[in-house]
Symmetry: C3
Subunit: 157 residues, 3 copies
């Protein structure tokens, strides 16, 4: 194994305005409580037996490299609504992996959440894996000048 397999997870989300698109993204990470870490993006599996950290950590070690499955979206179109969401399908069989899905769109938060939950259902059906529970988190923003929304599943140890 090259990198240790995570054993813990927690959900985060947030949105922000910003000076630039990347500053808005950075602000959304800060609002999510992961703004001073290094997110390493990955495709999107919850390892078997991975446990939720509750309550979620107020912060992680500064600069830590953190494997994260996330959705993000930014816009500089005033008035536009943007939303990002992630969902996890927790399997009934605790020896099997869970599935994380990410979705973002120029749309209302409720629409984006509904879609990402469906995506998890369909992905678990494709695996013929029964779902115990779907967890989801989301963020939304109505753009003033420049803004971003972020939602993620942080894997940790």
């Amino acid at each position: 194994m090259i990198i240790k397999t995570p054993t813990k997870f927690f959900l985060v989300s947030g949105s922000s305005d910003g000076f630039s698109l990347l500053n808005a993204f950075d602000g959304a990470l800060l609002a999510s409580g992961v703004g001073d870490t290094n997110l390493v993006r990955m495709s999107s599996i919850l390892p078997p037996g991975c446990k939720e950290i509750k309550p979620r950590p107020a912060s992680l070690p500064q600069g830590a490299l953190v494997p994260t499955a996330y959705a993000s979206i930014h816009s500089d179109v005033p008035g536009e609504v943007i939303s990002a969401a992630v969902a996890i399908g927790i399997p009934k069989d605790a020896t099997r992996a869970g599935l994380i899905m990410e979705y973002s769109a120029r749309a209302e938060e409720s629409i984006v959440v509904e879609q990402v939950r469906k995506m998890v259902q369909k992905g678990m059906e494709m695996r013929k894996r029964e779902i115990k529970e779907i967890m989801a988190i989301s963020a939304t923003s109505r753009i003033v000048t420049i803004g971003a929304a972020f939602a993620g599943v942080v894997l940790w140890d």
Copy 2:
């Protein structure tokens, strides 16, 4: 060193339909045999002496973080042909790194494979590094409603 340097590799590819673009991508990963892992994308070098795992593993530990160089493409245009390919230039000098290239396009598989092989040749020429062998793998899909194609080089230990 922050992350261990991989010593093994194998090639994977697959394609799938799906409920959404991301579900199709997820399905292509499942068809490739890496659907229950966490791909960590990287730019695109085969470490010196890195050996192929043959036959390739039927699966990796569920949820493992897996450094992978990959090409992927998805489409929701019915009738469209999409193809993804990766190629590795294995150097004659086993003490030097090999080069991985990724290419995907709305085009026939043979065209995409030819292009990615040329990209490896040009990249190895740029390094003035003689090629022992070029390995390649690819996937293609003719879109019905929503589909994805994926090809990757998985690095492992």
Copy 3:
């Protein structure tokens, strides 16, 4: 912790022509001295106490997995000017994280550097964290046929 937190960093940049967009990117990595490594992209924090390696290493171990925050841009529009830059805000308080920003555009290098420095200022303001120093590096290219520019902050140990 899943992945070790880096303790060292250095800045790199370069540009290149190439046979394809990805070959040009690969050439820009070679020109930057990180062409035979595996960049793992991350969002964009300098861990507290992370020290610059001076002079920067001529090369890293071939095939090493290297966490890097980077900006890159490529183009196949002859005559177009492309530029990429990264900047780091080093905090006065050495116990706090620094902030890395990335920016690239179809624009002159000086404009891109000015923008990325402002982005660091705004991001550090958002954190209410005083800046000791802003470090920046950039690359630019006027496209002949196909070209790329790259600038990055490489984290290391």
